[in-house]
């Protein structure tokens, strides 16, 4: 009988694999069934958005953010417009700010529902996927009435919103949030005490707070490990400081804690939405500074001046002062920031997209070390990876 040899087996996972949530490739090194090394290989979805954005005007660039991170579209658009607004030193009208918060929180709910559904399908709770996507569809229907698009909205403008919220928006969101509370409780009952769910998630893909901080993780991945950092609380933007909400924290840093954090975040988002609906002020939704915001159509048909402003903004764009800014939002996946460098011309000289999942994914090898191959699937799902965001 030959002597058993101590050697490792290298296997490839992805890039086309249903459990990698996109085009993520992993090279796993196995010792029997135990993982002793994992190397994520990314870049399959690299589209060069940063370069594209350097070659367009500030207004033209509004279409890109939602395409970078296609599951949390409104949070993403918000990060970009906030960065440009910071560069210009302007604040949008209060109605626009509150409307942005409502839409961003709805986006968070929609995104977390995709997380929940896709995690469920990864551990074979197939029906969970259908339920979650059905609920997400209701949120996307609201987005469609608001912006005309389910995903790539292009609804935010530098200095406010493209147009006012549609009639019946408030009633519709209220109806949705009512149904949602019961639905989240239902998912909680379906999954949280489900034996299979707990066995697959508890104690799996553990990330200690030290490792999470070392890798620059943010969002539910960091908070699942018990570190209290939420951009909405630490560096409030768009008036988040006026809202009451809690930041849920995990204690064990495993996949189950990250799941619990996201479930609670959906409830907190609902709380923020209800507060925002109560205090949604009237008034304009966009600044009337004609050097920054496009004139409304009603002005265009009446005045020559508006036509000139419109022409200059569309054909040339605006010229922000020389400087550099970083504006971040708490997207469903963590800190999403835009770092803009302006040289004073009509185009940004550098646009840097600080992607939350890029940093979070870096912690994957630490999460799966000494685990089994089946747990890699759970680990990827618990990071809630969006490859468009990782590769940009």
């Amino acid at each position: 009988m030959p002597e058993p040899r101590a050697e490792t087996l290298t296997i490839n996972m992805g890039p086309q694999h249903p459990a990698t949530h996109g085009v993520l490739r992993l090279v796993l090194e196995l010792e029997g069934e135990v993982i002793v090394g994992a190397r994520p290989i990314i870049g399959y979805l690299h589209t060069g958005f940063e370069k594209e954005m350097e070659n367009r005007t500030y207004h033209q660039n509004i279409v890109f953010p939602a395409r970078i991170e296609y599951l949390a579209t409104f949070s993403e658009e918000m990060a970009y417009v906030l960065a440009v607004e910071k560069l210009l030193g302007i604040t949008p009208p209060p109605r626009a700010q509150v409307a942005r918060i409502i839409l961003a929180e709805l986006s968070r709910i929609a995104s977390h529902l995709v997380f929940l559904g896709s995690s469920a399908i990864d551990v074979n709770v197939t029906s969970g996927f259908m339920y979650c996507l059905q609920d997400r569809e209701e949120v996307l229907d609201i987005f469609e009435t608001v912006s005309g698009q389910r995903m790539m909205h292009g609804y935010y403008r530098i200095g406010g919103l493209h147009c006012d919220l549609p009639d019946g928006f408030e009633a519709r969101v209220r109806r949705l949030t009512e149904g949602l509370a019961a639905r989240i409780d239902e998912y909680d009952a379906l999954l949280t005490d489900n034996l299979i769910w707990r066995k697959r998630l508890e104690g799996v893909a553990v990330l200690t707070p030290q490792t999470a901080l070392a890798y620059g993780c943010t969002g539910p991945v960091l908070r699942g490990s018990g570190v209290n950092y939420d951009v909405r609380k630490a560096f409030p933007y768009s008036g988040y400081e006026q809202f009451e909400f809690d930041v849920p924290l995990g204690s064990n840093g495993d996949a189950f804690d990250r799941y619990l954090v996201r479930m609670e975040e959906m409830r907190q988002s609902r709380r923020i939405i209800l507060q925002a609906l109560d205090r949604l002020p009237g008034g304009p939704v966009c600044l009337d500074d004609r050097k920054i915001a496009l004139p409304p159509r009603s002005e265009l048909v009446r005045g020559m001046e508006a036509v000139i402003h419109h022409f200059k903004l569309v054909s040339e764009g605006m010229h922000p002062p020389v400087g550099e800014v970083y504006a971040a939002v708490e997207s469903p996946r963590g800190e999403k920031g835009y770092y803009l460098v302006s040289d004073g011309s009509n185009r940004p000289s550098r646009v840097r997209v600080r992607a939350a999942t890029f940093n979070n994914l870096q912690a994957l090898p630490a999460m799966v070390f000494k685990g089994s191959v089946a747990d890699v699937v759970v680990a990827i799902a618990s990071i809630d990876v969006v490859l468009g965001d990782v590769d940009r």
Partner: protein, 175 residues
């Protein structure tokens, strides 16, 4: 440590012979340090008690055709209390080199690889400085300003190539 002024003061005290250039824009503080001593300054900042920042972002800016053309940008965020500080270092010429900070923050690994990939800035002491987003055999560094954006040729007729930069030309800053 509660604000950026105190942080800059502390950095001055720790490294008295360091040439610091402090700039503020829209409430964000940027500290420019000499490239050769960036690592030293960053490790001093990392150990500031009561701040203990995470490396939120590491990126670069190309100021071509100005010289020194590259800036490596480190964004540090302390979570409690929440304070952000940006540290920058300027790099000269065609073969820019700077020390790696992977020993301070392991998360800098991929970030430095990305900067190397897209800007061609080399990080000395990086454990595995390989391309990360572009294919391994790619030539050039796409985010450099002298790497122009072009359109791939297509096989069918009646197609007008559109390079985004030519649709709305760049216009100079307003005085």
């Amino acid at each position: 440590m509660t604000d950026t002024t105190a942080l800059v003061g502390l950095l001055r005290k720790r490294l008295p012979d360091l040439d610091l250039e402090v700039a503020e824009f829209r409430g964000e503080v940027t500290v420019m340090v000499p490239a050769g001593r960036a690592f030293e300054a960053l490790s001093a900042l990392r150990e500031v008690p009561m701040w203990l920042p995470a490396l939120t972002d590491l990126t670069a800016v190309d100021r071509h055709p100005a010289e020194p053309r590259f800036e490596v940008v480190y964004l540090l965020t302390g979570y409690e209390p929440p304070v952000r500080l940006r540290v920058k270092a300027r790099l000269q010429g065609e073969t820019p080199v700077i020390g790696s900070v992977t020993t301070l923050w392991p998360g800098a690994n991929w970030l430095e690889r990305e900067v190397y990939d897209l800007f061609g800035i080399r990080f000395v002491g990086h454990p595995d400085l390989a391309r990360i987003l572009m294919p391994d055999d790619w030539e050039g560094h796409p985010l450099r300003k002298d790497y122009s954006l072009t359109e791939e040729p297509v096989q069918f007729a009646g197609h007008t190539p559109k390079v985004p930069g030519r649709i709305i030309p760049k216009s100079p800053p307003r005085r």
